[in-house]
């Protein structure tokens, strides 16, 4: 086994993933502000660069050059660890996302499992950030974030198990290859489970909740908890949380498009490739942004009710129906 090509490959992937995460965050910041602007009948960033495209760059420069304050009362180890951990986890997950037929950093058999394994630590990172700040708003917010994540991980994993049953694989690339054209996408009821449109909906709602996006942004509820778990973070500490948040939004939407919308496959079955993956994912991200700027925030209780009383029963029904359908294809 020769070593150097391997090392260069790894380095290339690391650099590529990091660059993509950075660019993605910049693009999403811009997109979010632009879309929010137009929804609100204003322009959004415009004066900084053409169409305001340099706005995220300016923000980045600003955040980097800003003083980083570690509050005196904070647990400085946990406080510093949290943003880095958030960021690292989000980046790690990108390693198994297939952007194209061969454009995947590490095509492993259990990619789906890896994504959920690492995303499940993410909430721990948020928690230690909020706890480490030792600020009451941050602590309350951290507690909220944990309860919310735990509640929504259950229906999300049940849906993912359903999808694994249908595709009988945990390899993301294999899952994508099964969905050659529009008619073979898993979102349609004739491919696998008759309830899969519902499954997609539940998965999408869970993505919103898992990534702490409105209307489930209880963790950073501005009108109640100031800025939530990152109240005490300044400068790049805050910036890393932002990067991490946008990275996980992207991962969530990419997963939805891989599991249900055929990932890098073209709807017409011709010219599959990375562009399709990006188009589908960013369309979903657009919906995420659109939802955010339309609705008010739910309360913790409304959110838990939704999860335990609606999403979990529905996802269990989907699981059972799908299992039945796979074993006895006759009635369907």
């Amino acid at each position: 086994m020769s070593l150097f090509p391997e090392i260069i490959r790894i380095m290339a992937y690391v650099v590529g993933v990091l660059a993509f995460v950075g660019l993605n965050a910049a693009f999403l910041v811009w997109l979010e502000r632009k879309v929010a602007g137009h929804i609100q009948r204003r322009i959004g960033p415009k004066e900084v660069g053409p169409f305001g495209v340099l706005q995220p760059v300016a923000d980045g420069i600003k955040l980097i050059s800003k003083q980083l304050v570690v509050p005196a009362q904070a647990d400085s180890l946990l406080f510093r660890l949290s943003p880095v951990l958030t960021m690292t986890l989000a980046v790690t997950v990108f390693v198994v996302l297939p952007f194209g037929p061969s454009l995947v950093a590490r095509d492993i058999n259990i990619g789906l499992l890896l994504i959920f394994a690492f995303l499940s630590i993410n909430v721990l990172a948020l928690f230690i950030g909020g706890w480490g700040s030792n600020n009451k708003y941050a602590v309350v917010s951290a507690i909220r974030a944990v309860s919310q994540n735990v509640a929504y991980e259950v229906p999300m994993l049940i849906i993912v198990i359903t999808m694994v049953m249908i595709t009988s694989s945990m390899n993301l690339n294999v899952i994508v290859s099964q969905q050659g054209n529009l008619l073979q996408w898993h979102i349609f009821p004739w491919n696998g489970s008759i309830l899969s449109p519902l499954a997609f909906l539940i998965f999408f709602v869970c993505t919103l909740a898992e990534t702490n996006r409105a209307p489930f942004d209880l963790g950073e509820a501005e009108s109640e908890l100031v800025a939530g778990f990152h109240t005490e973070y300044s400068g790049m500490g805050f910036g890393l949380f932002f990067l991490g948040e946008y990275a996980s939004v992207f991962v969530g939407c990419a997963l939805a498009s891989i599991l249900f919308l055929g990932g890098w496959q073209c709807p017409l079955g011709i010219m599959p490739g990375v562009h399709w993956m990006l188009i589908k994912t960013y369309l979903l991200v657009f919906v995420v942004i659109w939802v955010r700027w339309t609705f008010p925030r739910t309360t913790l209780y409304g959110l838990l009710n939704l999860s335990w009383k609606v999403l979990v029963p529905f996802s269990l029904v989907i699981l059972l129906v799908t299992a039945a359908q796979l074993k006895m294809p006759w009635p369907f």
Partner: protein, 183 residues
Amino acid sequence: MMPLFTVEGLAGLLFFVFVLLIILGALAATHAADLIRAVSGLALCMVGVAGIYYFLGSPFLSLMQILIYAGAICIAIVFAVMLAEPQGVRKFRRRHPIAGAGGLVASALLTWGLASLALKTAWPQAPEQINPGALEDVGRAMVTTFLVSFELISLVLMIVIVGALVLARQGRSRAGPEKSSNS
């Protein structure tokens, strides 16, 4: 000994990193006075253990380790800390130093015993380099050979969930504050 800049060498380095993670994590888990730090240490340690599993040829298990330990158990502990730890008191008093020293001695003796057992015993040589168990094999074994234990585990989990619910509710009705408001 292997040169560092080979695949095997780097893998060896990685192995040391995981061992380091385990030891650091275990140290934090046992030594930190702040419970959240201890939990973070546990999570770190478990990530290290997951790495060890990877070296033992089971990536599936290593991811499960992360998912269940770091993702589920640590979060559950965090939950308990949140529910059970009053906001004001974040640090816990240390146990009496003699207890600590005694524990140190006892555990050192145990470790030494186990280690010497591990090193002194003449383990039979591994039959051959067997292929690591694939995911499908694990799944198949679970519903064939180990069906009874699998069902037992699910039963245990079921009982645990019900039991935990009962316990938590009981606590709430006894000493929980009056929640007369809307719900």
